[in-house]
């Protein structure tokens, strides 16, 4: 499971804080306890100088004499200090009265360099001792008589008050660190909650976006700077989603409407046929009629499916350089015989290498639909003219047919979903082609467009598609 941002922030803040505080406490503790110990050792060393001072040697021996008043700490009965002196051969020279029957452990560092160590005092208390190796002061006559003999001195003192002070410091530091940590945790929680409040607000806004109304945008004003880009992208996404949904709805409506008319035909024909007993021929006629309608419907459904697949991205468009002449030839082939029998002239004015950059299947579908439309609307002995030219990075293919009885104002309606101007359908033929509304949709899918104009009985459809070889101007050949 992934941790929430809130938990992660809190963890980082308090974890970091805890580590910092602990390091700080350890350092403070170390410095303080060291300096206390140093102070203690200094006193201990001073005390040892008081002892080492009176150690003298004369010509015969090393002697030690001390008055109780010079160092009363060694004489008191309660928690006294201790000292002991040894000659080089290990013989005890002297000891503090407080030693009574006990003794100290002998240790020392290099000559005249004091060594310190914690010890257990003869009365059982914890203490600290300094060991000192030194050559006693000699009087004038003894100076050259006796070789210089080293004396070892160990002075020990109880550390009860030092330990108490260090414990107090430890306790204070631990309490301060713990308390600060708890406070940091609380403050961190509040800060994180307040800091993340815009996120909660954003979540509420997103939750309020309804599937049937994606037009609502999330306002970016008063949004923290860190979140503005996220909200911006989210709004973009919403806009794209809304577009997609709108296209989807329009497409469904297109499909439903396109299918309504043939369905009505099918239903009517079947209902009339079954309304009363009829002759064999009547039934056969009705069945033939229904089959025609089914073929028509199938054509519509297949076209819609192809378009739906392209629009939903189920089938990837594969743009390639497509020779428009090939599209025209393939689209015209199935129409040629019927057109010739009606005396229709078919003229193409396209140069070689007139290519568009488009998916072959979809562009073929569009061109075939436009040609089939033209062939059906052209009057007997009329004319269909195909021309093409390059405009910037696009190619424009125009398909013009004579015999149009519509006015130019009708031209803007030809792409409307229901607009139909199909006299051929009033005859026996059933139009199975792609409606112009769907042609427009398909052209847009390819990144192109279609337009229509009507002048002097000529209906002209212009199809614009991205060019395969931009910036080559090709003049139509008349």
């Amino acid at each position: 499971m992934t941790l929430s941002i809130r938990a992660r922030l809190l963890l980082w803040i308090t974890g970091g804080m805890a580590i910092l505080l602990m390091v700080f406490a350890v350092v403070v503790y170390g410095v303080l306890s060291r300096s206390l110990l140093d102070g203690f050792d200094e006193v201990l060393l001073a005390s040892s100088r008081t002892i080492s001072g009176p150690v003298e040697r004369d010509s015969a021996r090393i002697k030690f004499e001390m008055d109780e008043r010079d160092a009363p700490e060694f004489y008191r009965s309660v928690e006294p200090d201790y000292f002991q002196l040894w000659l080089e051969d290990g013989e005890k020279l002297a000891g503090s009265p407080s030693l009574k029957t006990g003794g100290l452990e002998r240790f020392a560092g290099l000559p005249d360099v004091p060594a310190f160590r914690p010890v257990r005092l003869p009365d059982g208390r914890a203490g600290r001792a300094v060991g000192l190796l030194f050559i006693p002061r000699a009087d004038e006559e003894a100076k050259d008589v006796i070789p210089a003999q080293k004396v070892t001195l160990v002075v020990a003192r109880g550390t009860a008050s030092l330990d108490a002070t260090i414990r107090l410091i430890r306790w204070l530091l631990a309490t301060a660190t713990g308390g600060t940590l708890v406070l940091a945790l609380l403050l961190g929680a509040v800060a994180v909650r307040r800091g993340l409040r815009p996120l909660d607000a954003l979540a509420a806004r997103i939750a309020a976006v309804r599937q049937d109304d994606l037009s609502a945008q999330i306002p970016t004003e008063r949004m923290p700077a860190e979140m503005a880009p996220v909200v911006g992208k989210l709004n973009d996404l919403l806009r794209r989603l809304e577009d997609a949904f709108r296209r989807e709805r329009a497409f469904t409506a297109d499909a439903a409407h396109e299918l309504r008319t043939p369905l009505a035909g099918l239903r009517c024909t079947l209902e009339v046929a079954s309304s009363q007993p009829r002759t064999r021929n009547d039934y056969r006629e009705a069945i033939t009629e229904c089959l025609d309608v089914v073929r028509h419907t199938q054509g519509i459904v297949e076209t819609l499916l192809v378009l739906a697949r392209f629009e939903s991205g189920q089938t990837t468009l594969r743009p390639e350089a497509v020779d428009v002449r090939e599209l025209i030839e393939a689209g015209w082939r199935p129409l040629a015989d019927k057109a010739a029998s009606r005396g229709i002239t078919f003229d193409t004015h396209l140069l070689m290498n007139f290519s568009c950059m488009a998916d072959r299947e979809v562009s073929q579908m569009i061109v075939a639909a436009l040609l089939s439309n033209a062939a059906e609307y052209t009057d007997d002995h009329g004319r269909i003219e195909i021309a093409g030219r390059n405009i910037g990075e696009s190619v424009e293919l125009t398909i013009a047919n004579t015999g149009c009885s519509l006015s130019d104002t009708d031209a803007q309606h030809v792409f409307d979903r229901f607009w139909r101007s199909d006299p051929s359908r009033t005859g026996t033929g059933i139009h199975c082609g792609l409606g112009l509304a769907l042609v427009q949709r398909a052209a847009r899918t390819l990144g192109g467009s279609v337009s229509a104009r009507i002048a002097d009985g000529t209906f002209t459809i212009g199809l614009t598609l991205p060019a395969a070889q931009p910036k080559r101007h090709l003049m139509p050949r008349s």
Partner: protein, 224 residues
Amino acid sequence: MRVLVVEDYPPIRKAVAKGLREAGFAVDATGDGEEGLWYATSNDYDVVVLDLMLPGLDGLTILNRLRAEGRAAHVLILTAKDAVSDRVKGLDLGADDYLVKPFALEELLARVRALARRAYCVKNPCLEIGDLRIETAAQRVWRGLEEVHLTAREYALLEYLAMRRGEVVSRTDIWEHVYEFNSEADSNVVDVYIGYLRKKIEQPHKPPLIRTLRGRGYSLGASG
């Protein structure tokens, strides 16, 4: 009752025309808007079944022109457009009813019958003249307790006369409302069918139901 069907999709046009004919209506049908307008303005139809999307001239324009010319024919709009705004627009332009494709033929027939009755201010689908009873929905006729079996044309003639009971109905009126545009142009045919009808519905020892008013036409029922 005479009905004009203007619908450009051949399967619907053919089936609706056939269904209406079999329901006793005289039906003219066309798939072209211009032709539809010409039909509607040159004949006195009881009901016009009008598609909205038509080649040549769209349905709403035809409706507009009909109303502008003061034509009283009841118009039933038949279309794939089902948005409320489309229906409101059609009804506001003077349409009397609206049916969205695909529809049940039965419903279309019932609506056309209702519109036809309305054309003659008749609300009861069961017409009674003396002991003659006509059930327009089932197209059945009784004289007293005895059912009278009529051909489609005879029934259409009787129903038209019954809708205009008590009025003098001219041969031309009968011709225009009972016969289709493509019928054989013989005015005698009206007299012949009146003769057939009389044979089937008149009974001896009862006053005649159909009276001939010389030079003016025919009248059904009312006075004895």
